[in-house]
């Protein structure tokens, strides 16, 4: 069987867990042309198969693992796989991306995606070995941590090269922000680990031995070398490779963009103690990377002193140092590293874990929560021992942990007493480690992201460090200097729209946003035209940069349409009052709020969406080839007039 385009495997696995049936279906050429791969596939399948009536934790929800055409080709940092479902945390479109070696292995086994539906009668895992796809008993794996699960599967199946993606105890216990882990890398956001748990699916193990061919291997390889030269020569990139994302700790503290004390302020006086320099000097053992990776974010570390002494497979990322560190006023780096390890082993998203606990700590500070509520734990800022007790309590839903396992939004609903006021969520998702008051584009990005408060759907980078060259090249001189200024709301809508399309493509091609694009993006090296060239050399698909942008726009709009069908509108594109009404108290952003309304209007305008309702006009959908979406939304009365 051969697919029209190279790079793709050309086949999708369907697993009906209720009826214990595995089927394979050919990949639809139109699906590949219109939605590229990865997150694009997830978006289309969720639109087609998951309705507003579907409870995210019910058997009817779909759980999709998908890779893009570049995955497995060896293109620099194209190792990623995407997981998607209706999210149990947000109740809307959910996806999450993970690096490592699992994605390419799926391609080597000969598949572009796996779609799970139903619920197994007992714990199972899926074992894909080239053409053989089997549902296996996971009785012995249930309850095991993610690391143990990988080890046991490799040992039982007798092949060390098997790649495993699994959920931990948190996923089994349906924690709404449970992650999926593969070799310590995480598809963490949106609670997709809980969707695995709800289906009694412990893991997906893959081993493959097939070719991944490209259309024009010689030129593809030459272009690859050209991009590698970028990695080798740019100062910022080299620094980012050297330290990994923790390099951002001190930088973001400097621009006061940090979520300190549940975003009460953006400055953490102890940033240096948990920053990239210190980790590299005192903790780092070595660098590690996913398949074809040049950025090596994953850096194993050693904690030398008791009580947390040990060797751990990865340093906490910037987001984790924020969520489990500054956000909680915690400065004990040993404890943060250990907490990160616990989250990975138990299968928890560190961002939502830290976000939920920081909300609880603020409620505790304000007397809304007391020791009576917290099983006697003192939830004071900086109490790392409380953090380390809470993490397993959440994963196993014990005592107060059972309330926090619902995520901060639902926990606040349950507790009431004015605790809602301190929620730092958008669309029920805990906001990641960016204070929009210090970077206005991030404020807008959080408000409009399709999976809830998220920085990676738009990943507005060009203003983050104020690099002007890419702005000049992409938007033009006229947008300077404002677009490059993080504190100015001007032109940020342009940046966010552009970023969303670029990110949708990365997630669909399997490119890493944090290095595959973002790093060369800083230098202006990878943009739509380049992506079109890569895609053409890899697959033979003849698209222009403009058409690719269209594909990105199509994906963004379909995710939006999914959420509209779920009942969302402009009212949900909001930020907490803390960002829009309360000026930042100190640091570089002192006195600033997020001018959301202004940016939002401009953003809707650029998107061609209705500025009053945030709904998508039928014309816009038709223009993107989404006629069937327009029809359905019209039937539901969700098309603006």
């Amino acid at each position: 069987m051969s697919f029209k385009y190279r790079g793709y495997a050309g086949e999708i696995i369907r697993v009906d867990l209720t009826n214990n049936i595995v089927t394979k279906q050919p990949l639809d050429v139109k699906l590949a042309e219109n939605f590229i791969g990865g997150a694009g596939f997830i978006t289309k399948i969720l639109w087609d198969e998951v309705s507003p009536e579907t409870d995210p934790l019910s058997p009817e929800n779909r759980l999709i693992f998908a890779v893009g055409p570049l995955c497995g080709t060896g293109w620099p940092v194209s190792c990623r796989f995407e997981v998607g479902a209706k999210s149990p945390l947000t109740g809307i479109y959910g996806d999450s991306s993970c690096c490592g070696h699992w994605g390419p292995e799926l391609k080597f086994a000969g598949y572009d995606a796996i779609v799970f539906q139903g619920k197994a009668s007992k714990p199972v895992y899926l074992w894909i070995n080239d053409n053989s796809v089997r549902i296996m008993d996971a009785g012995d794996l249930w309850g095991k941590t993610t690391g143990e699960t990988e080890e046991i599967i490799r040992r039982d199946l007798g092949d060390h090269r098997i790649q495993v993606a699994s959920c931990g105890p948190a996923g089994e216990n349906l924690v709404r922000y449970a992650s999926i882990i593969s070799q310590r890398r995480a598809a963490a956001r949106c609670g997709l680990g809980a969707v695995m748990g709800s289906k009694n699916l412990k893991a997906v193990a893959v081993r493959g031995s097939k070719d991944v061919k490209t259309e024009n291997p010689k030129e593809f390889y030459e272009f690859m070398k050209e991009i590698i030269e970028v990695y080798r020569n740019d100062f910022y990139i080299l620094d980012r490779i050297k330290f990994g994302t923790p390099i951002l700790v001190e930088l973001m503290n400097e621009i006061s963009r940090w979520p300190v004390k549940n975003f009460q302020t953006g400055v953490f006086p102890y940033a240096k103690e948990i920053g990239g320099e210190r980790i590299r000097k005192e903790y780092r053992i070595k660098d590690r990377g996913g398949f074809g990776c040049w950025a090596t974010c994953e850096k194993p570390v050693q904690v030398k002193n008791q009580p947390y002494a040990g060797i751990y497979a990865k340093q906490p990322e910037y987001e984790t140092l924020s969520a489990l560190g500054a956000r909680l006023w915690i400065r004990d780096l040993d404890a943060i590293i250990y907490a990160n390890e616990l989250c990975d082993e138990l299968g928890l998203d560190t961002i939502s874990t830290g976000g939920t606990i920081s909300w609880a700590m603020e409620c505790y500070e304000r007397g809304i929560l007391t020791k009576e509520d917290t099983d006697g734990l003192e939830l004071t800022w900086g109490n790392h021992e409380a953090l380390l007790e809470l993490i397993p309590k959440i994963a196993y839903r014990k005592g107060f942990g059972a309330i926090l396992a619902e995520g901060s939004f639902r926990a606040a609903q349950k507790i009431g007493r004015g605790s809602e006021k301190y929620l730092m969520t958008v669309k029920k998702m805990e906001i990641a480690a960016q204070d929009g008051r210090a970077q206005k584009s991030m404020g807008l990005a959080h408000a409009v992201a399709s999976r809830g408060a998220d920085h990676l759907k738009a990943f507005p980078l060009v203003d983050e460090l104020g690099r002007e060259e890419p702005i000049k090249a992409r938007f033009g001189e006229k947008y300077l200097p404002e677009m490059a200024q993080p504190l100015s709301p001007k032109y940020k809508a342009y940046e966010v729209k552009d970023g969303e399309e670029l990110c949708a493509l990365c997630d669909s091609l399997s490119l890493c946003k944090s290095s595959g694009t973002c790093l060369p993006l800083y230098t202006g090296q990878i943009y739509f035209e380049d992506m079109a060239k890569i895609l053409k050399l890899a697959t033979g698909m003849r698209v222009s940069g403009e058409e690719l942008r269209r594909a990105g726009e199509r994906i963004v709009n379909l995710q939006r349409a999914f959420n509209i069908r779920e009942g969302l509108s402009k009212n949900d594109d909001t930020l907490p009052d803390r960002f829009t009404k309360i000026p930042a108290p100190e640091g570089a952003a002192k006195g600033h709020v997020v001018e959301l309304e202004k940016m939002l209007d401009e953003y809707y305008g650029l998107r061609g969406w209705d500025q009053k309702t945030g709904l998508i006009p039928g014309k816009k959908l038709e223009e993107l080839g989404l006629d069937y979406v327009a029809e359905e939304l019209k039937r539901l009365g969700k098309i603006p007039f």
């Binding site: 497995g72 060896g74 070719d211 061919k213 590690r288 074809g292």
Partner: protein, 156 residues
Amino acid sequence: MSRKILYIDPLECTGCRNCEIACSYIKEGLMNPQKSRIRVVRIGATFDSPIVCRQCVNAPCAQSCPVEAIERRGRVWVVNTEKCIGCGICVQECPFGAIWLHPDNGTAIKCDQCGNCVRHCPPGKLRFIDPNDIAYERGMKHSMKLKELLEEKNEL
């Protein structure tokens, strides 16, 4: 006799498999780790290291080959695919698991030190080295440590 091996310290290897990618493209024009002549192993939290031919002096693969298909060319052992009958004895005999049978045509494949992987290793630490130089580096490292120890004890 000048002989070099491909070497990287497991603590410097990132396990990124760019060497596999480089090898697979140059030798096969496609991507398939099963066709690469260098293959990376990752174990536990910190170990990453490529498996690759060491160009043994008394090479068990060449010595065991019944049709003498593994020939010495300069400093490397090369499989003469015309002669190779694909019996797999070399695979059986290599102590390092560094020679394989090609999944499509069944003849032996192994590293011939073309150097493409070295050029693609992101940390730039995969390199050709005379094994005795490793001994020298180790010896120096150890000696430096010893010197520091003695200095600490004020014995120097």
